[in-house]
């Protein structure tokens, strides 16, 4: 059984691509055949974050337009077995995406035995975002603990309930999960950021995990290696928790409370 999962948010810069890269990597590490599709046609970021930008020959739009075969456009990850990337085109725009073409590619990926098809949505609620969510079975809504991000996520949750294949065909509702990223317990404590509780109350969907604000994210993006690969960082630990939780394991939520720093830590931190 294949699962189509859209990583979406409405607002830009909240961590959709980072999350797509890390979750796809983490799931593949568990032995599941996984593909991450970059729906941000015209911008193309996922290949950079996953470190395969030099190996892009054909892209998603080429496949939709029958200019290349799916096998030609899929890039196999060099670090993690079972992980593939379908990059976006940089030379086209979102109009190149249409439901028939996208549906055909997703169907073909299912036929190829992909268990998880991760759709990295562009920001906004326009065509690119709608195409990314249209065929989804599940959605991970990435939100920052900040009012405008929460409001945009709420808007996207409304679209997920109305403008998807499942909604239009009257199927079961898309399962939605909340992923709170760039979370800083210290700022929450100071009242400068919404708390996990605040966001959950506003959005009313189950919490998949909390990713702490960390420099490791920026560093890993620049290196082209998803943070989850370096298990020593708190971000990697947080994403690993998310992956295990997503795959059905019970994991206690972490990174919600401010870390109690030891005396030495305070001296040298």
């Amino acid at each position: 059984m294949s699962k189509v999962v859209v990583i979406t948010s409405g607002k830009g810069g909240v961590g959709k691509t980072t999350t797509s890269a890390n979750i796809a990597t983490g799931i593949a590490q568990q032995g599941k055949k996984t593909v991450a599709i970059d729906f941000d046609v015209g911008l193309r970021n996922l290949d950079l974050v996953m470190g395969c930008e030099r190996r892009v020959v054909y892209d998603f739009v080429n496949v939709i337009r029958n200019e290349a075969k799916l096998q030609q456009a899929l890039i196999r990850d060099k670090r993690v077995e079972n992980l593939y990337i379908l990059p976006a085109s940089q030379t086209r725009d979102k109009d190149a995406l249409d439901p028939e073409g996208v549906g055909r590619v997703i169907e073909e990926l299912k036929q190829m035995g992909f268990e998880y098809i991760i759709c990295d949505s562009p920001a906004g609620i326009e065509k690119g975002a709608q195409m990314a969510m249209y065929f989804a079975d599940e959605a991970i809504v990435v939100t920052n603990p900040e009012v405008s991000s929460v409001r945009d996520s709420d808007r996207v949750l409304g679209l997920l309930a109305a403008k998807t294949s499942r909604a239009e065909l009257g199927g079961p509702a898309i399962r939605t999960h909340l992923l709170l990223t760039r979370y800083s317990p210290l700022m929450v404590k100071r009242g400068e950021m919404l708390s996990v509780g605040d966001v959950l109350e506003l959005l009313g969907i189950p919490l998949l995990g909390v990713i702490p604000e960390s420099k490791a994210v920026l560093q890993s993006s620049n290196k082209g290696a998803p943070a989850i690969l370096d298990e020593t960082t708190d971000v990697a630990q947080a994403y690993l928790d998310v992956v295990f939780r997503y795959l059905g394991q019970e994991r206690q939520h972490r990174f919600i409370e401010e870390e109690k720093r030891s005396f030495l830590g305070r001296l040298f931190g």
């Binding site: 409001r151 945009d152 709420d154 808007r155 949750l157 409304g158 679209l159 309930a161 109305a162 506003l202 009313g204």
Partner: protein, 253 residues
């Protein structure tokens, strides 16, 4: 049952009509967006001859209304109406009572400034004759008996739920940026963070009930209160909102 918004003209001054319409529409923009409109000439009497229907259509279109037909068309104007692409709507009851002979209708075209309610809109069922008395302009919608509309999922930002000719019961949060509208009462058994409108077609007795008031706006029959005007003591409380002396009042539940 089809329902039409009726625009009862009491003036032929298109600029004035358009101005008043825009004010009306601004109060409940979503309700009137692309709404089909029946133009009633009954109150104009002979003065209707001064109307240029092509211009009237353009004026209404510019307000994002879709004029579909004209009621109470004097015989001499049938051609002008149909030339403008409009239908002539003439159910038996309406055709007979509004021939232009009633005294108040004869006075109307002479007036330079129409009464403030000149362009009052109302809903009438298309298969029922329009009310005929002067008080008809504020006729309430007919009472529903289909049971209220019930929504059990959150109403998210950008979503609009409208219970036409009905009450609305919402069992989940109405989030900011969302709108819940009913021609009757609105009940929200959860936080109201968006907008709520009761009595959307003019039912003055309609009320809004909510468990936790954090609204951006509440409105009843065209009167409204913005978030900033909600007294602090009601914020986050269970309240009802109703019309009193033409203004919205809030009371704790």
């Amino acid at each position: 049952m089809a329902s039409l918004t009726v625009l009862r003209l009491r003036s032929t001054d298109l600029a004035l009509i358009e101005r008043q319409l825009r004010v009306k529409i601004a109060q409940l923009p979503h309700l009137f967006l692309d709404a089909p409109v029946l133009v009633d000439l009954g109150a104009l009497g002979d003065g209707a001859a001064a109307l240029v229907f092509g211009d009237l259509v353009r004026a209404l279109r510019s307000c994002k209304l879709v004029p579909v037909a004209v009621a109470n068309v004097p015989d001499g104007l049938r051609g002008a109406v149909t030339d403008a692409g409009l239908g002539v709507w003439q159910p038996p009851a309406l055709g007979r009572t509004r021939g232009g002979g009633s005294p108040d209708a004869a006075d109307a075209p002479a007036a330079e400034t129409p009464a403030p309610e000149a362009q009052a809109t109302e809903t009438a069922s298309a298969d029922v004759a329009l009310p005929t008395g002067p008080s008809a302009a504020v006729a309430p919608p007919r009472a529903p008996h289909a049971g209220p509309m019930v929504v059990s999922k959150p109403v998210r930002g950008g979503q609009i739920v409208y219970a036409q000719n009905n009450d609305l019961v919402v069992l989940a949060p109405v989030n900011s940026g969302a709108q819940v509208i009913a021609d009757g009462h609105v009940h929200i058994y959860a936080p109201l963070r968006g907008r709520a409108v009761a009595g959307a077609q003019g039912l003055a007795g309609a009320r809004i009930f909510c468990q936790k008031l954090e609204a951006e706006l509440v409105a009843i029959s065209g009167a409204y209160i913005m978030a900033e005007e909600i007294p602090a003591q009601f914020h986050g409380r269970a309240v009802q909102i109703f019309l009193e002396g033409g203004e919205c009042r809030i009371a704790a539940l």
